[in-house]
Symmetry: C3
Subunit: 152 residues, 3 copies
Amino acid sequence: MPLWTIHHTPGIFTGDDKKKLATDIADHYEKAGLPRFYVVTIFSETSPDNFYVGGEQAPAGVRVVIEHIARHSADKAGRHRISYWIKDLLAPYLGTHEELHWEFHVDETSEDLWMINGLIPPPARSDAERAWAQANAVSPYELIATESAATG
Amino acid sequence: MPLWTIHHTPGIFTGDDKKKLATDIADHYEKAGLPRFYVVTIFSETSPDNFYVGGEQAPAGVRVVIEHIARHSADKAGRHRISYWIKDLLAPYLGTHEELHWEFHVDETSEDLWMINGLIPPPARSDAERAWAQANAVSPYELIATESAATG
Amino acid sequence: MPLWTIHHTPGIFTGDDKKKLATDIADHYEKAGLPRFYVVTIFSETSPDNFYVGGEQAPAGVRVVIEHIARHSADKAGRHRISYWIKDLLAPYLGTHEELHWEFHVDETSEDLWMINGLIPPPARSDAERAWAQANAVSPYELIATESAATG
């Protein structure tokens, strides 16, 4: 569900940083109860001549676009809490860069317009979701149950 | 209007697959009454070291982000129907890959914040939209009509 | 806040065009009162075999995805006004291309799910936002104020 698209100028992340950050992100959502495989992180390197901040080429820029589907925030305080833990995930990888512009925002979209490997994922906090989380995989049993629910 | 951005690891789609899938997608929306040229499909190849699922590099991954503007779903059942036909479009191109993670979600955005070739597209199911669909092109006549409506 | 992602086929923009267009965009939002550094513009070149319009490879295509966070439109007329000034920004760079498909849409997302350099930006039209705009930078003083507000 959560899709993190990380646009960045060259030299911000090493290969090892990418792997570690993607792991940190997956760890966080897993602790919140989501199946680990829901978390997709895509890095997209963009050269400064294609990356502008305030109309100027950015020598160092990171712009993260996050899409939340399986869980939505209830109110402003909840949204701020989400923003703070996202910041806490990113900051260790970014703090040492001088003159870095780094920014993220989150969009929340409908859980009903979403499928993984051809299945509508089970409802949030359902037994089926817990089974997917435990197996870290889509399971055939849930396939049948979910499709029945969707067409019933 | 519909914008399909298809992030994928190398080797998932041949050049011919891309052309056919883009055609299938346009065919579907055309059957639903939309002008064919509303449908934009962008493929974005991403190497496994930039594509993580659950914190692990994905040997085979497809993550599709779809934006719907001209038509919005009315309810949960309608959203599930949309999800199922999107699945049916994608599955023939993906079924043969072992251990593939493939996932899509749809966001719905405002038809009022949208323009093609400098024109606000005509209202859904209007005569003007049908004329655009038949011509498969923006037409000057509609330009005048639409701008009058927008500024009147 | 505003993030402009400009997908385009090769040959649409020169390097100089990109710089000027990014500057024009930043100028516009700055005139509307936003800090200039809120404006991020990313160009993403896509070859025609990865860019389809209506199922056909696009010899010349521009698809702009814009995300608005700090300011939201109030009604349909406001959204149309926004569409028209976006068109007016883009058109000077696109008008000379034959058979070009160019299209944009805007999504509006929550200002509460957004941070720049680890800070929740100040409320729209606040003194703090004006100070950020004047300095064209995040300021430590605002950091404290904003974090107090968010956690208080």
